[in-house]
Symmetry: C2
Subunit: 106 residues, 2 copies
DNA sequence: CAACGATGTTAGAAAACCTTACATATAATT
DNA sequence: AATTATATGTAAGGTTTTCTAACATCGTTG
């Protein structure tokens, strides 16, 4: 069930590096977390750890912000996208089950 | 010529995370650098930055060390492997050129 | 104008990292 | 056997990086 965390998804990058890679300020990066757009992990000492995927997401966020989109709206878009992906995934799983065991009506 | 640095090769991971991921001590990680087995980059402030490839290499190194191989020998193996790869690469480039422009004797 | 959104800046503290040096226990060399 | 080299731990002191919290600014929206 749990997917192998690939390089892209492993949270191993500190905020300073993220700053360099994205060109965003640390203030901005932390603020987008506060607005629930990104979810870094933490070291035992409390330092934030990001993945490459987070970095890509941050760059998308930055673009939207530049286009005048507010963090709240971005959050809504993300929620929707997640919900859609979940729905699709469930539908596919259901399809798998039906293929294996046949459809049962009602 | 320069290859696009993929996630695997980008030097973005600090030594503390490398310690966690490899199980090696920072002392060991720095020592293997001193013995020219790994080559982290540095932040402007001087902190080491490693790639996922470095981490995999470190784990291979750790295995060999456990098997009693010395860093010096590991270094020699690496040199040889690099030399071989370079030779092969050059041979392939030569092949490409011959295919395009024909072989010229002497 | 008041409230909110987004970002900068500052301050002080804690965590992470750096180098250098000394200690130790094996292992290799002479 | 004595010496040298390898591999690692640990300590000290210093610098860099990160953290949170607070206050400031400036633009937008109600």
């Amino acid at each position: 069930m749990a997917k192998e965390a690939s390089y892209k998804d492993k949270k191993v990058i500190t905020i300073g590096i993220v700053r360099e890679l994205t060109g965003l300020s640390e203030r901005q990066i932390r603020y987008y977390e506060e607005r629930k757009l990104i979810f870094p992990e933490r070291t035992s000492g409390g330092s934030r750890k990001y993945s490459f995927a987070d970095i890509e997401l941050l760059m998308e966020i930055a673009e939207k912000i530049e286009d005048g989109v507010q963090t709240y709206e971005i959050r809504q878009e993300m929620k929707k996208k997640n919900a859609d992906a979940t729905k699709l995934r469930n539908k596919m799983i259901q399809g798998q089950l039906n293929a294996q065991f046949g459809t049962r009506k009602r």
